[in-house]
């Protein structure tokens, strides 16, 4: 097996391991961190159904972002939607064994690459040209956008420029990663250049701002039901204070 294939196989496992362990660690950390107070933010929901609907609007429509800035919404929403479509489009390369018909039928999803680049370019443009957003950007913010644009452009070059690598080899390689029966990667530079930054992004996911994806579900401002008057909400560490006070009061009584 070529050194390049070995490198990518090892890189894939390392990246996946970091991703799975890292994200699990963060999820467990978030889950285990208490929420001592009720802090839902308007427009808050008075019941669970409302909270569910709010998440639906936030996750699928980016409703808060829409309120905030139409341009950022347009670029951000387009980018994320395109990313989802392209993820499904790519399943055909990963699916072990016989590929379901549906994955062939969604082949036109490949055109989502155009809106993807449009959205990413817009986001990058805002970062460069709007002074407020330039001020808050770190090198990593630009690098992530550039990496995503690079991934998109290399993918488009292969798909629309008729520079496909050997698709059977790709499928054998990805299947091999899952079944541990490793096989050779296609050697085209353009293909390697396409997947390298993908693996990088997977690896940095749990240690970067990409954590916003799981983070949003844990935002107490969004996920709490606004019913503080009706139900007593109390965390363990705060509840202990009630008990301490009770004990203190009882002791005082004994003293009297």
């Amino acid at each position: 097996m070529s050194p390049i294939s070995i490198f990518f196989i090892i890189f894939f496992y390392i990246a996946s391991l970091i991703f799975i362990l890292g994200v699990s660690y963060k999820l467990v950390q978030y889950w285990n961190t208490p929420v001592p107070l009720k802090i839902p933010i308007a427009p808050s929901s008075l019941d669970k159904k409302g909270v569910f609907l709010r998440f639906f609007r936030e996750i699928f429509l980016f409703s808060s972002l829409f309120k905030a800035s139409k341009w950022t919404w347009l670029f951000g929403w387009t980018f994320h939607l395109a990313l989802v479509l392209l993820f499904f489009r790519h399943l055909v390369y990963f699916w072990p064994g016989d590929v379901p018909l549906i994955l062939y039928k969604i082949e036109p999803f490949k055109y989502a690459a155009y809106p993807l680049v449009f959205g990413l370019t817009g986001l990058l443009g805002r970062r460069i040209f709007v002074d407020r957003i330039r001020y808050i950007s770190s090198p990593s913010d630009y690098l992530m956008l550039l990496a995503l644009i690079f991934i998109a452009l290399t993918g488009m070059f292969m798909t629309f420029g008729h520079n496909h690598p050997n698709l059977l080899m790709v499928k054998n390689f990805t299947e091999g990663l899952i079944t541990f029966q490793w096989s050779e990667l296609p050697g085209e530079i353009i293909f390697l250049a396409h997947i390298f930054p993908v693996f990088c992004l997977i690896a940095i996911f749990p240690i970067s701002k990409l954590l916003h994806a799981p983070g949003i579900f844990f935002s107490p401002t969004l996920n709490q039901v606004d019913n503080a008057r009706k139900r007593r909400h109390i965390s363990d560490w705060a509840s202990k204070k009630d008990n301490d006070l009770k004990i203190e009061l009882e002791n005082n009584k004994k003293d009297d």
Partner: protein
Amino acid sequence: MQNNQIKLPTYVETPSINKDSMAGEGPFKATVEIQNNLGFPGEKVENWHQVAIDKMSETKSKYRSVQVFLDSCMKCGACTDKCHYFLGTSDPKNMPVARQDLFRSVYRRHFTFAGKYFPKLVGAKDLDEDMLDDWYNYFHQCSQCRRCAVFCPSGIDTSEISMAAREVMNVIGVGQKYTNQILGKVKKIGNNLGMPEPALRDTLLDLEEEIKYDTGVDVKLPIDIKNSEVLMVSPSADFFAEPHIDGLIGYAKVFHESGVSWTLSSYASEAANFGMFIGNYDVMREGALRIRKSALDLNVKRVIVGECGHAWRVAYSFWNTLSGIGGGAEDDYALKLQNQLDSNYPQPQHMIEFTYDLIQNNKLSFDKSKNNHRVVTFHDSCNVARGSNMGDIKNGQFILPREVIRAACNNFIDMHKDSIKSSTFCCGGGGGLLTDDLIDLRIKGAKPRMHALKQSEQESGVNTLAAICAICKSQFSRVLANYDFDPYMVVSVHQLVSDAIILKEKLDQ
């Protein structure tokens, strides 16, 4: 007062950033005595760096909000033009994300892999003297109004970070004079003013005389009356300041007409709870426990809160947690109080809810023409608008105050939709910033609200600004003149009620 007036543009402009335009030393620092009163070190401790990092670690392990918000900002910039202090000062560190980043950059440096090994790449920074100075200066340029959080796609609430940062600073001995001095007075005397009981009693008697003189009716302002139906907890500014005091008279008249017995408490003579501003659970809880103790001692059936913005957030959202004033508890500690309170009513209730219910049931009558000289608009106070509810109906916190105003006034007009309800602009003085040493910031921070008001004045002839928050009322009284308004145009919602309500006893005579 009329000097340095600010010319308002015809539309709200998002300014270009102007770095360090609000750089400075921040508000006065608390003295040793003030700090010690609250159990904080009097001066910056020697190993402050380590103490601060340890406190950050503790805070993020006790508050999910802090941990999640520090991780999940994607720097999209949605919040950058939402803060009134940024709009008013153009200092980029007043953009919510940049303000959070003062804290976040230290978090990244000390608690994350990327920040430990690639600090430049991800904007991680050490907590050095300069950073601490920036913390002190810029976390006291945040009124914790939460407007930014409404627009954040991740639901990140800068106020949580701002509270956490102030908590860390207090723990290392760097506290703010204004807020901490006031908290000491609550602890010692029971209210923010430090108004002793005899002065309070005298003031209430004085007001009773005034109402009698004005209306001919014996409207009482009772204090410490056991077994009353209602314990009324209002901000102490209602006992002292203008125009607040006319709101207090309004509550008294409404209670008088309702026939419901009520009492103020000399022990719990403060609704405000600045413990929230400094992010300290124990201090905030201590304030709430005073109310609990009063409710138990006076054996009341209901607790009602007066016109105070952050107090209503603390009461509505936190009291049940902090001290069991609420409903639906299952533990003995909270049930002891909740079994005493009347479960037919929400506990606690806002005075606006009480008045609104009476209006709905036709228990109050108004001569609305008494307010005909007014064209009224309503300033949604940030903590009420974004951190509470009224009436237990969706958006009730926006609906009820407006309905109460409409019941008492013929002319009501809302300001521009982007400046009201959940998008309301802070008055510029909330969150512990209502102090003279921050007057420059307060004037600048009021700009977006003043702009919306100016628009309403020009388009609809608005001449009265109604509010339900003691801080808003004081802040507006102080800054309105700087924007070429009459400072007396600000009123309590219950002053409008007070001016129009028909006292039945008088009809009988």
